[in-house]
Symmetry: C2
Subunit: 656 residues, 2 copies
């Protein structure tokens, strides 16, 4: 097996990074103080207003501690696993004996429920007629196992406790004994990718190559002929477990779970968006670990397809609610959009793995875009209300009256029955500091401007970097570099793709950026003193952005952006029928720091509004434009929907 590309940088342990940031601390604290405890209560069915979870109960029944039937989604176990993963990261931020004890008890329960051979899936164990691994397309046993493994690795890495690692390794070993190319093994793979990336994480924690080989097998087997999922479907008499009726061949829906062709031959993101990016995350892992150029090329092709043809300006992906899926190039409707929070989380995972292979700011740019827009938008201030769908145009009555917009909600919804996004968000935010830096033997890469401190070794001296700023509101970021001893090493600072004018100084001396730029990073290679101050000033004028003219939905429109933040207009500030607004040729933008929405910079702009008077009696009339001048007010996209129910719009018509 190969190794990570030596020129790229690797992950740094979470334990070596601390975060302290005026923007993100609140979010992370909310996850720790509200989301994790609330989710534990939900898992234990102690939240009257939430849908019944039964997750813990399922484990107790599977363990023989109680009698009863399975309840919930067939992947209900993952609710516990995602909680456990978030707990793991949370414990690395702040120790919490009580939480630690709850987690240990849950792990003990998992151990009790686990079969002697290592298998663990409460749905299959309790519902006896369901045979193991006989309906990989529908039953998601490997997907569920993947979340179990991710949780186990995270908890082990956070606490050093081996109990959970033993449990998940035992299951992984069992899976390895059942799946693979060898005769007698199942030549299949899961209908929902996840096990692949999880096995890579297990490999990194255990160094047991069996796991990474199995991950690679799952990827390489996918989409090949003979088509395993079709054989499986024939074997079960073409019956769907869910409808108990005969269904069509999986071939017809293979693109939905990205098994329509071998993964290396796939060139366009298709199907269920979360499955797609989870798969790509593992593909990037395998490309790096095996130095597999063909796999890497497939990753880059699909990366480019997503970010250059199928991604919303907010970092959202998934253009349709039907199948929560990608559709086709340049199809980016703003109002029938899906843009699931989980899909952008998956996109961040994928981008992060790509960044491990190749220090190119395009990956970190997308991580930043998704974090500050879609991700930040998802959770309400109470930690108990979420956007699962992240639209760019909202008309509240459409959510009720238009059948194709029912999934687009004008206000954050209570924690759902299918608790995918909130725990996924919880694990992302509690591990957020893992996305700020990467390091190699001689270089520390700074990808994100999130207030934090990292400790690492560069050329055999201990180096600390401390980022402080009022990002994304203010232009200046200060990075203090502390070296145990004066030493030659490199600090590589990302100059964001959105920034047209950046000024970088080291100890007050301006650096000529053109002389040190490498793929979007200012690489500062020098003999560093024991204490050095790097300042980075990223000009943040308000900008009007344009989409490719191939995006029909955005033609003739502009989006307002400042720094990494996309802005939107809301009904509360601008009246209703927002599409009747247009940005003036010269909008004369001005910015203002306001206390609203937990403190944001708002933007005002000159605009026009189509005059609706005289239209009560006619729907169509000869063209005769009547407008009035207005002053528009825009707020950061992520903050929308926090002041009651109303319209929202990102892409605004533009006068030319």
């Amino acid at each position: 097996m190969g190794q990570y590309n030596k020129t790229a940088a690797g992950e740094l342990p979470l334990a070596d990074i601390t975060i302290s940031d005026s923007f993100w601390d609140k979010q992370i604290e909310l996850v720790q103080s509200v989301v994790i405890p609330y989710q534990w209560e939900v898992l234990n069915d102690r939240v009257p207003e939430a849908a019944q979870s039964h997750a813990i109960q399922n484990f107790r029944i599977a363990a023989g501690l109680e009698k009863g039937d399975f309840y919930g989604f067939f992947f209900q176990d993952t609710d516990l696993y995602k909680w456990l993963e978030a707990v793991a990261y949370s414990l690395t931020i702040k120790n919490d004996e009580k939480l630690s004890q709850l987690a240990d008890e849950a792990i003990a329960l998992m151990g009790s429920a686990q079969c002697d051979d290592g298998y663990l899936n409460t749905f299959v164990q309790i519902r006896e007629p369901v045979k193991r691994f006989t309906n990989l397309e529908e039953c998601h046993e490997l997907y569920t196992a993947g979340h179990m493994i991710e949780a186990g690795v995270a908890y082990y890495q956070a606490t050093g406790k081996k109990a959970i690692l033993d449990i998940v390794s035992k299951f992984a070993d069992y899976i390895d004994s059942r799946f693979g190319y060898e005769e007698g093994k199942i030549h299949g793979y899961d209908g929902h990718q996840e096990i692949e990336l999880a096995l890579v994480r297990l490999y990194k924690a255990t160094k047991n190559e069996r796991y990474v080989r199995l991950a690679k097998y799952f990827l390489d087997a996918r989409g090949t002929e003979p088509f395993y999922l079709e054989e499986e479907w024939e074997k079960r008499s073409k019956i769907s477990y869910w409808s108990n009726k005969e269904i069509s061949s999986p071939r017809e829906r293979a693109a939905y779970f990205q098994a329509h062709k071998p993964v290396r031959e796939q060139t366009e993101a298709v199907g269920h968006a979360v499955r797609q990016v989870y798969m790509l995350t593992a593909m990037a892992d395998i490309a790096a670990l095996y130095q597999d150029e063909e796999m890497k090329a497939a990753c880059k092709t699909l990366w480019n397809n997503i970010v250059k043809k199928q991604m919303y300006i907010t970092g959202g992906i998934g253009s349709t609610g039907a199948g929560e899926a990608f559709t086709y190039d340049y199809d980016l409707p703003n109002d029938t959009i899906y843009s699931e929070t989980c899909a952008s989380i998956g996109l961040i995972f994928f981008a992060q793995r790509m960044l491990m292979m190749e220090n190119d700011r395009c990956y970190a740019d997308v991580i930043e875009k998704a974090l500050f827009n879609v991700i930040m938008s998802s959770m309400a201030k109470d930690g108990k209300h979420y956007f699962y769908v992240n639209p760019l145009e909202v008309e509240p009555k459409a959510s009720i009256l238009s059948p194709i917009k029912g999934h687009v909600k004008p206000v954050r919804q209570k924690w759902f029955g299918c608790a995918c996004c909130p725990p996924n968000l919880a694990r992302l935010l509690t591990s957020l500091r893992g996305y700020i830096y990467t390091g190699s033997a001689d270089t520390l890469y700074i990808h994100q401007f999130i207030g934090s401190e990292v400790k690492t070794a560069l050329n055999n001296t201990e180096v600390k970097a401390q980022i402080s700023s009022n990002y994304p509101w203010n232009e200046t970021i200060t990075i203090r570099i502390l070296a145990e001893e004066e030493r030659d090493f490199k600090i590589a600072v990302r100059i964001p793709g959105w920034c047209r004018k950046a000024v970088l100084t080291v100890d007050g001396e301006e650096i000529v950026l053109s002389s040190c730029m490498e793929k979007g990073y200012a690489v500062l290679s020098r003999n560093w003193k024991r204490e050095n101050i790097v300042t980075l000033t990223l000009a943040m004028p308000v900008e009007e952005m344009q989409a490719s003219p191939r995006v029909r939905s955005d033609l003739g429109k502009a989006a307002i952006q400042r720094g990494p933040l996309v802005y939107c207009v809301e009904e509360i500030d601008n009246g209703n029928n927002l599409p009747a607004l247009s940005l003036s040729k010269n909008p004369a933008f001005s910015i203002k720091s306001e206390e609203i929405l937990d403190g944001v910079v708002t933007i005002t702009a000159n605009g026009l509004r189509e005059d609706e008077s005289g239209w009560d009696d006619e729907l169509y009339a000869p063209y005769q434009r009547k407008t009035k001048e207005v002053t528009m007010k825009a707020v950061p996209y992520y903050s929308w929907g926090n002041r009651g129910e109303g319209e929202m719009l990102v892409w605004i018509r533009k006068e030319v």
Copy 2:
């Protein structure tokens, strides 16, 4: 019972009207030479490439002539009835012994299949477990009966043959014995409106008031409490006939079939569009016959809601494919639209009934708009391919790849399994001359400019009117008025709402229109000579139309219109990515008669096209508009999709 409002005009017998029109003759001839014979073959399962119909077979089985099971939709019988109705009208245009004989045989078969008590529905008769009238919401027995009655009335009126009238009257009598306010009768109504308007037609043919009372009952019972369809649903243990599973209360979907409130209290068009307009047609009939002002007010309210808030510029209705339904005011998406051909046919029925009550051009304007755009668009030149859905924006790959646009087809489709639109179109076109004129004792109203001749009596002298023109291409219409004797009477000529400048002459002398306009009609009241020439010149400059700024989908856009024709741009003339086009501030329109598309006037215009170069590597970039000047070519909307598969667009961005 009251009578039709004396100030309004009434229907004229089809037998008194002949049509001879350069635009419509081809369509009507196509129905007679291709559609009707083809449909007969389909009904008899003799068309290998068409979906199995089994319609005639169902009747033979119900009649005991053959053994077998029912096949098809539960309303499969209506395929025969709609065919028979079209045959009836066709025979009034041109006698055809062979066709007449086929129809008589079909009628004899209906008679054989009819139960002794008058009931006739092959689905219910063959599928024994289905009990008559126990699932009105789902099984459409009365809807099916309605089409039978319409066919019967039309055939009787066309041929004078009573056999069919006896059959349908016997069924109507049976329905009357089973439904109504009286104790022991069913207090219900059908899930799909149609019987109501059919019973009014039967009343007009027979003068038996029982039928109109029953029609009124069905309307007045609808949407009242106790909610009959819920009682029915409870009686059948809440089981759906289709899924054989328990379903939710019909209350939850009552708006879909317009039973959410009493019909007189309904103020917004909702639910399934065809149901809505069929119901309104009957409501207008009842309002007129009973001089029922409350009912009339409800009709006008709903008329206004449809045409001022929920109708496409083409005369299409139904904004969503989900339920083929209305959504809400000003929600008129161009690309996820439904705009079913049948719905516009129903809208024409409704408009025609309103016109009977009130000679206001708004009704005739909508009939014309629908005829020249949606209706004319539906059928291909071969008579065997149809648009069921009539979109205003088409991107072929979206029809395949976007789950919310799958119903929007870029080319006309073969006759479907559910043969609703083609036979509905056939009956409309063969009775098209019924929409041109109405008459009262002293006035002949000319509503449509379709080449034709009518014979009627005005103030006791026989009057003929002969319309000739090259409408809609040329501006001048000639109307020859021939009176058996010189006489005082009135000729009322509609001045279309789309026309900004009309010149009317009688025998060469210009009429001052302002002195004789009544609700959009130039009422020429004079002593007419035995021969008179009226000429009407309707200025037809190319116009840019605008939608109300409340229509989000059309903001900043214009539609090209000339006379009654809406125009569109197609990929074959303008390249792909049509939304990248915009109309110049001064488009400098020019028109040209061309041989293409069976002869049309095409329009060229100056425009801009967004430059797509430089966008391969970016999806978003700072706003910087790059355009190139282009000459656009537009063709009549109805002619789109006849030159291969490609994009199409009606609403075009407008430079200001």
